[in-house]
Symmetry: C2
């Protein structure tokens, strides 16, 4: 088992990564404020892992209640959130009870937001079971639900007490979801870690074939990058925005074609290619580098262009991006592979051009 | 104009109290991150004060949008909150836009929670127009909406940038609402400020007749008490819970008979009498002191007993109180007038007895 740390002063917490840690609920005991937890999972993950995970906790005397949500991004909304509140109240959960998110990014985001709001804040533990959640969404305290007009529009920063990532859960992950997770892994290489990008170029097939050592290395290197960025800028006043490479375009894709149609990681891959095109138009990314980025996404089986939405629709949806400042779109763009900036220098014409070059509507 | 400060390090903020400050929007300019605000108010307060308040801001070049909610505690819920999000998105509000709450406790609580969640947090300014909001709910960062099973059950801590309290707005306040505000004022005397309690005994009629000097003194002394408690314990790990004197019983009253039937301050007055009865049973408050408390509420025109709910219903509703720990009810009780504690020493029989003595069902 590897232990990484997200350094946030009094709110610092460990990320425990290893094979089989899901069966070791006792690892969580030091992080509980009372011997009572409510585990939130979904109808896909629950049958696979809920009993295995809850059993050692129950054996240790922890009162465990279970909340099972429907599976899918389209359920990351208020009615589902409210069903968590209903269950917490029915189960007499208190503000010292710990809420545990057992599942992928949707479960983690919505459960995290429930923990942030219930009785104005209760403790949270993240137990991510998808690659995307293990390398990205379970770490750093961002929580949210979607609004019909914007992805992750309603949410809070709420850091977990601990993150427990069992790499064995990836063995049951559908291929499509594995690839979606790889998109966020590639992101870290692109924004701030050239050696990691090069490692990915050399090891992408091992990763996709679920080689345990490759997966473990990719997860730890990703989490280390994420932990460093979050520690430096918890509330996204600056540097943390770099983690949103491809997300301005990506969120527009997800919102525009309906939540759940594309996986988040797929939208991020296509969105990152749009950001790369824009970087190339600005003269920052040369055609060789652009080709390397495209090739890596392609080898990972990820889309390298967006869906068939009108350009006007893309632009309209992007106006609700959380990085917009004084009405101006801001993008995370690449100075080169391994170096990124948040900038509003791209002209509207260049933005249109990038979307045009990288969407299926032409 | 008096300026008080809530000392919270980098998040410290001033409370500006004075006559006519509502017309001096320029006082807010130093607190805006961009020249754009969205003002949330309700259908009662809006027609009285919205134009007056917005005009100087517009003159100073601030883009102002307006969101008018229905008036009443029964609207402090998810659909109303979501209508704020819809309006913010439709108005292209950004995470640097400031949300302004212009109104009483309900407007302040729900607007504050909207600001806490929209794009994971936007700046907030509180402009309280009721006595209750000026002396209590606008200060300290507690925000929330109600859940059918529990008052203020879903919320966040989100401190404002500044609080602007115009004592002139109290001239249009209905008598019933004025008295409801007095309940929270009396609370400060009871929990930690004997000289203030004695001042209230001497000046309650001046306060109820809206003598400007008496109102101003009561507001400033209340805010000073609140600011001290919040500065010492922002997230209610300890001392801050004392501010909830009467609220465990009071929230049960509000939830039990339906939000909006009793005003919050009325429920707090009756709830405080239940807490005082319980304190008396424990031998802490003697009968003379109990009589003083009752007399002051009575002179203020506030209820000194709760409504006709079954005792079992009271007990059931109180189980969802945010102070419950390991299934045990905890109450704020009075050691004497001016000194309070949070405790779970009261027996179930004593709690029943206190409710029985102070509710209309017998």
């Amino acid at each position: 088992m590897e232990t990484l740390t997200v350094a946030l002063g009094a709110r610092s917490y460990p990320i425990l990564v290893g094979r089989g840690v899901l069966d070791r609920g006792e690892l969580l005991l030091p992080f509980l404020r009372q011997l009572k937890v409510a585990i939130v999972t979904n109808a896909t993950v629950g049958p696979l892992y809920l009993d295995r995970f809850a059993e050692p906790l129950r054996r240790a005397g922890v009162s465990v209640s279970e909340i099972v949500l429907p599976d899918g991004e389209q359920f990351k909304n208020w009615p589902t959130l409210n069903s968590i509140f209903d269950a917490l109240l029915a189960g007499r959960c208190e503000r010292s009870t710990t809420l545990v998110a057992l599942g992928g990014g949707v479960v983690g985001d919505i459960t995290g937001f429930a923990a942030a709001c219930f009785q104005r804040g209760m403790p949270l533990i993240q137990v991510p079971t998808t690659l995307l959640a293990q390398v990205d969404s379970s770490v750093g305290g961002k929580t949210a639900i979607n609004h019909p007009l914007g992805k992750n529009m309603i949410g809070a920063f709420h850091q977990p007490q601990v993150v427990l990532a069992d790499t064995e859960t990836l063995s049951t992950l559908p291929d499509r979801e594995l690839r979606a997770g790889v998109a966020e892994i590639i992101k870290y290489g692109l924004i701030r870690d050239l050696p990691f990008f090069e490692w990915l170029e050399a090891n992408i097939e091992r990763l996709l074939s679920r080689d345990p050592a490759a997966l473990s290395e990719a997860i730890c290197r990703s989490c280390r990058n994420k932990a460093e960025v979050v520690a430096a800028d918890e509330h996204e006043r600056g540097e943390r925005a770099l983690l949103n490479l491809g997300h301005t375009f990506g969120h527009a894709i997800e919102t525009g074609i309906g939540y759940g149609e594309w996986l988040h990681g797929e939208a991020v891959a296509a969105g990152t290619m749009m950001a790369a095109e824009l970087s190339s138009q600005l003269g920052w990314l040369d055609s060789r580098a652009l080709g390397r980025v495209e090739r890596l996404f392609h080898r990972a089986g990820l889309p390298v262009s967006g869906p068939n939405l009108a350009i006007e629709r893309y632009l309209e949806l992007m106006q609700n991006d959380k990085k917009v400042q004084d009405g101006n779109l801001r993008f995370v763009l690449l100075k080169r592979i391994g170096q990124s900036v948040v900038t509003d220098v791209a002209s509207p014409a260049q933005v249109r051009k990038a979307i045009e070059l990288r969407s299926a509507h032409v």
